[in-house]
């Protein structure tokens, strides 16, 4: 019965509700939360007590963000469909690296959803900057992110002027893989890739021919294909003679399906270059199920060196890249950008050939 003269009950309790209840200025309440040294300990106690009593949830973060011009979070643009982010082992290591640096800087990590036909989520993301990772080169979401004019770092994307980029030397890696197989005496190659052409325009599941390659819409895919191509041609193998099978998705099942088709061709390939380890793992099991011995009859090399590469039998020969470091570098670059520094605008990370048991001389 004490406070029933409060006829107009403000459903939303704000800093001024608390201030009014105490008969004190709003700035004092604000200070109680943010600048304890600006008011007496006694009053601060009182403010906090009344706030708790009224159920005041503390200063509204959005209002604070508006005032302070910072959101305390970084947006990560990755993959067309958000849930896939959690399936790809290589991507996860990258995300882990990003998360590590952001955590140290006390920044949140906002996974931004968004189909390419609706960029509003990107436009409205409450973030201080973006990391763009492994998006299709032409994805409108990337444009939308850049249009925000926030500090942004590109990772595994085609570099742009004025935007720091971190890329991996995918082309060199692909070259190493190819040269390794060539040095083992292989002459009949095939390639398994994924999402080289957008799914809805891909006519069939037959290996595609060389002309269509130019449609490659993922930067790293282009780099890797380029890296395969050069040593092959140098060895006198026509690029147009190399069948390329384009999977719908980067996973083991698609890799296993691909290898079946490729092994049915004449001449039968003896060396398979896979754009990712997941495809390679699928190719190994697919080949084994079809009765082929790896590596005796068929050499397979992957790309990424994910943890599972060592667990399969035969262990996968592949190109190692430091996924975690990729994430760390991207996060670090963005944090420097946010601090007003200008990071080295272009970082290229090295790769390394790891020879295991899935490749052998012919």
């Amino acid at each position: 019965m004490a406070n029933e003269h409060e006829s107009a009950k403000p459903h939303r309790i704000t800093i001024s509700t608390v201030a009014a209840a105490l008969g004190v200025a709003v700035s004092t309440v604000s200070n109680a939360y943010n600048r304890p040294d600006q008011l007496s300990a006694e009053l601060r106690e009182r403010v906090l007590a009344v706030a708790a009593e009224l159920g005041y949830p503390g200063p509204n973060p959005v209002a604070r963000s508006l005032r302070q011009q910072r959101a305390g979070a970084v947006g990560v643009l990755f993959a067309e469909r958000l849930p896939y982010a959690f399936r790809d082992p290589a991507a996860l290591m990258v995300l882990e690296g990003i998360a590590s640096t952001l955590e140290q800087a006390k920044l949140g990590l906002l996974l931004v959803p968004g189909r390419d036909d609706d960029t509003t989520t990107v436009q409205q993301a409450l973030v201080d900057g973006f990391i763009v990772y492994s998006m299709m080169d032409t994805d409108p979401l990337v444009e939308a992110a850049l249009k925000r004019r926030l500090p942004t770092v590109l990772l595994d994307q085609p570099p742009r002027p004025d935007v720091p980029s971190i890329i991996v030397d995918d082309e060199a890696g692909a070259r190493m893989a190819t040269e390794h197989l060539l040095s083992l005496g292989h002459r009949h190659f095939a390639i398994i890739t994924d999402r080289l052409i957008e799914t809805h325009v891909r006519p069939s599941h037959a290996p595609i021919n060389v002309q269509t390659h130019s449609e490659a819409t993922f930067f790293v895919t282009q780099l890797r294909l380029q890296g395969y191509r050069q040593p092959l041609e140098q060895a006198g193998i026509a690029w147009s003679d190399v069948p390329i099978y384009d999977c719908n998705d980067n996973n083991e099942a698609d890799g296993a399906a691909a290898i079946q088709i490729l092994l049915a061709r004449t001449p039968r390939p003896t060396a398979i270059l896979c754009l990712t380890d997941r495809l390679a793992l699928g190719a190994i099991t697919g080949a084994q199920q079809a009765g082929y011995n790896v590596p005796e009859q068929l050499s397979i090399v992957g790309f990424d060196d994910i943890p599972q590469a060592t667990r399969i039998t035969p262990a996968l020969t592949t190109i190692r890249q430091d996924h975690r470091q990729k994430g760390l570098s991207a996060g670090q670059a963005l944090i420097e950008l946010l601090a007003g520094q200008s990071p080295t605008s272009y970082q290229r990370l090295a790769v390394e050939l790891v020879v295991r048991d899935s490749t052998a001389a012919i």
Copy 2:
């Protein structure tokens, strides 16, 4: 030389910069972005053109959020250290489920970092609600999240009044695992758990005794231990005779280390109950390395049924739970909450015993 009379250059371009440049009201510019039907197409074109020319990045999302009272994102509180989120296969499936529902609702997923000695990240997270998942029962971050008074869903947490909870029937699952082993004739049990006691208070790596169990600070840990205990005691096995080894972390290496210690005890256990599949996988390889045959000499059962459980030899007997569904349910519940509906406040998901090859009669 056209616009050099603009002496005061506003470094920050806002909606009113654009409005001033056009000699038009700010609300008109706002409408150009948000309510195309509220102004003539011709003027809208002009607004957008001038905006582009000035480099206006579009309406500031934070200001918009303040006005509209929504952030368009959901905070996920998970694990003490953010990067670990990307390592645990079970957790990833849960996150995938959460991400799926949020994506459909066009909501971002904010991973909130935060050590328990600093809750500011939680207090300042720009979100419309929280999902709290697998946090230590006493973690101050959970308190901080609840204090925000936003719609919140608890997942694998001790239920609280007024907060919708989604839990898994961990206790029943643990009972099933135990009964399975008992029915195979086992009498000498041991348990491998993780983080039963906070790392810094744990005295040594010896198996801990029964009294300390009450300190269990993870809700699901408590449930599972309880589920192990009951059928054992019912079978006349004293709980205090069951050694429990507490690992530092939920991973294979710790599981492998644990099994070494446990196998050295007298009487040597013939049945190992592992709180998670990762620990169980480690226990299997650890036991094999120590020269024991699984399941002939040692039966091991896990919990979670992660994908890797089928890939190991022998394939792991375990308790299956639908991780993805957990995430979906949590996301769905939160979305309903955000829409002002009240979801069923308490959901309990079922589990299932999956018998594979890591358990056998004694």
